[in-house]
């Protein structure tokens, strides 16, 4: 099992290369945004927003377009942490913290773990399906519809309000108590289901003894 996992040095190389690419692509955008900020064309919150949006969109494009699946997963981490920043800009620290903990920590580790256990080492570079043009067309139509709807709608000039931890907790555990309990049950069932599903059964162990491979 261990020899199938990429070495830490490979991860170091991926991260260094990724940082170089991100720096080369990000620096012009940063310069443009800084110029706009210094010329007072955009306010400081907007500057942070556009910077964060750049990270989110670039990471999302990387996760969807990169051929190397480990690179795609690392790009996803950038996107999810950028989304946490967006939640901070939306004055909702609690969701931002949950995003970092659950996505930045749990989900990405789980996904990388899944990649390693399936095909990261055997075929780290995958090709996409033949339905790419179709997928592109549908995505453009859906995105265009949403964007048109957002531009068309008029909500007036609204001022965001800060959601405090206390208010959030009161609302969550007073008004949404039953959904919270249901979510707890759902998580319980999902995780035990995942374990039962991915576990090697006793028959399979006897039929296919797999050398030094760890029993999952």
């Amino acid at each position: 099992m261990l020899d199938r996992l990429p070495l830490p040095s490979q991860f170091d190389r991926i991260i260094v290369q990724g940082s170089i690419v991100a720096g080369m692509l990000g620096t012009p955008i940063l310069v443009v945004l800084l110029a706009l900020l210094l010329l007072s064309r955009i306010s400081a919150p907007e500057f942070v927003f556009w910077l964060d949006a750049t990270v989110v969109i670039a990471g999302a494009l990387g996760a969807v377009l990169l051929r190397n699946i480990v690179h795609a997963a690392l790009a996803l981490i950038a996107t999810l942490l950028g989304v946490a920043g967006i939640f901070l800009l939306l004055a909702n620290e609690f969701i931002a913290l949950v995003q970092v903990l659950v996505y930045g920590g749990g989900v990405t580790i789980l996904l990388l773990f899944g990649l390693m256990l399936t095909n990261a080492q055997d075929e780290p570079v995958v090709s996409d399906g033949s339905q790419k043009p179709f997928a592109f067309g549908v995505a453009v139509i859906i995105g265009g519809l949403f964007i048109a709807a957002v531009i068309d709608a008029n909500w007036g000039a609204r001022v965001p309000a800060v959601v405090s931890f206390t208010a959030f907790g009161e609302r969550l555990f007073r008004d949404f108590l039953i959904p919270v309990i249901l979510i707890a049950i759902l998580l319980d069932i999902a995780l035990s289901g995942a374990f039962v599903n991915a576990r090697r059964s006793r028959d399979e162990d006897e039929m296919a003894p797999t050398g030094g491979e760890a029993r999952s």
Binding site: G114, G129, R158
Partner: protein, 102 residues
């Protein structure tokens, strides 16, 4: 102050990118990653409306929390299934898992 439309446009773009990934990718785990992108877009939308339009009750923020939780459960379960399929068929490519295809 940041206009509300900025966040909505960002979430729409994120959703569309994730949608493209779901349709174009063939590795099951990369499809999962794309679904995560779509869910992130939806969560941004929820929190935006909660913060700008519903700052007293902010139900949207609570729903975003539930979206994140259910997504975590979904990833755990889906990875279990993918590992199972990989063990049975030595592939995580969804095009090759076509026993039920008519």
């Amino acid at each position: 102050m940041i206009p509300m439309e900025n966040f909505l446009l960002l979430s729409a773009v994120l959703f569309a990118i994730g949608f493209y990934g779901v349709l174009a990718r063939r590795s099951a785990i990369l499809i999962l990653i794309s679904v995560e992108l779509m869910l992130a877009g939806v969560a941004i939308n929820f929190v935006t409306f909660a913060t700008y339009l519903d700052s007293q009750a902010f139900s949207g923020a609570i729903f975003a929390l539930f979206v994140i939780t259910v997504a975590a459960a979904e990833v755990g379960l889906a990875l279990g299934i993918v590992l199972r399929i990989f063990r049975e068929r030595q592939t995580a490519n969804v095009d090759e898992v076509d026993t039920l295809k008519w």
